[in-house]
């Protein structure tokens, strides 16, 4: 990432960049003073979280251990649980924004849904990865057909399908509408998948696998809670930037469309008839 010093600062932009050089606010970028502050707070939070989770908190063994006796590996949970919570939150935001879009029909809700789905995909993949690492340690297998794991895997595919659907539609209104409904359908599916997989598993194996037991206290509980706060901040920061990116893309699309229409009009006025061009290609 090379700092771009060639673009001149806009005359009208507020002179609020804290320092010069690499860290100044790029006038073309998606950052603002607010998001910069949020980013700094998040960075400090991550550093503190790493300190608490990896150094300060005790391993899950010895006298104060939880019934799982996870030893040092309990630290994976401080990471895994917050990431998983953000993943479900992201999908909920996508579905709820979709519903709001269908109600209010305003572009902002659609952009919010799209931004949350993009961030959600990353967090869902990370949830699966960290869960898998945990599973390899605790159960000796990278993958177990457990209800939560399976639901999360399907959630990832649903998110990917949602984004693929968005990419496949060019008309912004049609895209917003179809995506909103796709998000809602997917959301309705999550509890059904969870219950069906749960029943399916309980049919085949009676003994449940050892789960993370939330009966922890003291610094361990603090590490978990602090992790949640930090990853919510990360989610918020990403959402701010992804939302603005969506907005930039929507404006770029609009301008592309305007340019195409202007071109077509110019063609028409200059008397060059374009038979069949573009009549049925859009749909």
């Amino acid at each position: 990432m090379t700092p771009d010093t060639s673009t001149p600062r806009q005359a009208g932009s507020p002179a609020s960049s804290p320092s010069a050089g690499r860290w100044r606010l790029d006038p073309a970028g998606t950052a603002s003073v607010g998001s910069r502050v949020l980013g700094l707070v998040t960075l400090v939070g991550i550093a503190a979280f790493l300190l608490v989770a990896l150094v300060a908190s005790p391993p899950d063994s010895g006298r104060d251990a939880s019934i799982n006796q996870m030893g040092e590996a309990v630290r994976i949970m401080y990471l895994h649980v917050p990431v998983a919570i953000v993943c479900f939150l992201a999908f909920f935001v996508t579905a709820a924004s979709g519903a709001m879009y269908l109600w209010r029909k305003s572009e902002g809700w659609d952009l919010l849904a799209a931004a949350s789905a993009e961030v959600g995909v990353v967090f869902t993949a990370l949830t699966l990865a960290t869960g898998s690492i945990w599973g390899r340690f605790a159960w000796g297998a990278w993958w177990v057909w457990d209800a939560r794991l399976t639901t999360t895997a399907l959630l990832l595919i649903l998110f990917l399908g949602y984004l693929a659907l968005r990419r496949a539609i060019t008309d912004p209104v049609a895209r917003a509408k179809r995506a909103a409904i796709a998000g809602l359908i997917g959301f309705a599916d999550v509890p059904i998948v969870h219950y069906s997989v749960d029943w399916w598993r309980s049919l085949h194996q009676k003994a449940t696998i050892t789960r993370f037991n939330p009966t922890i206290d003291g610094l361990k509980l603090f590490a978990l809670m602090f992790g949640m706060v930090v990853f919510l901040l990360v989610y918020a920061w990403l959402m701010v930037h992804r939302f603005r990116l969506q907005y930039v893309q929507a404006r770029a699309e609009e301008r592309g469309l305007d340019a195409a229409i202007a071109e077509r009009r110019a063609e028409g006025s200059s008397g060059v008839a374009s038979p069949l061009a573009g009549t049925g290609a859009a749909r």
């Binding site: 990432m1 771009d4 673009t7 806009q10 009208g12 932009s13 507020p14 790029d26 006038p27 073309a28 970028g29 998606t30 950052a31 603002s32 607010g34 998001s35 991550i46 790493l50 990896l54 391993p59 006796q69 030893g71 040092e72 590996a73 630290r75 994976i76 990471l79 895994h80 990431v83 990353v122 993949a125 990370l126 990865a129 960290t130 690492i133 945990w134 390899r136 340690f137 990360v234 920061w237 990403l238 930037h241 992804r242 603005r244 990116l245 907005y247 930039v248 893309q249 404006r251 770029a252 301008r255």
Partner: protein
């Protein structure tokens, strides 16, 4: 049960994976924003 050294390697793997992926995603988001944002007229930049 697996020895503690092995547990630490799992912990390190999980933490570094999450941090690297998130960092890459953040960099990508910022770079993409700067590249696409160059074409956006400043008066439409509602957050500045």
């Amino acid at each position: 049960m697996i020895v503690a050294a092995s547990a630490w390697s799992f912990v390190a793997g999980a933490y570094s994976l999450v941090l690297v992926v998130l960092l890459a995603y953040v960099v990508r988001t910022v770079v993409l924003g700067r590249r696409l944002g160059r074409n956006l007229p400043p008066e439409k930049r509602r957050w500045m």
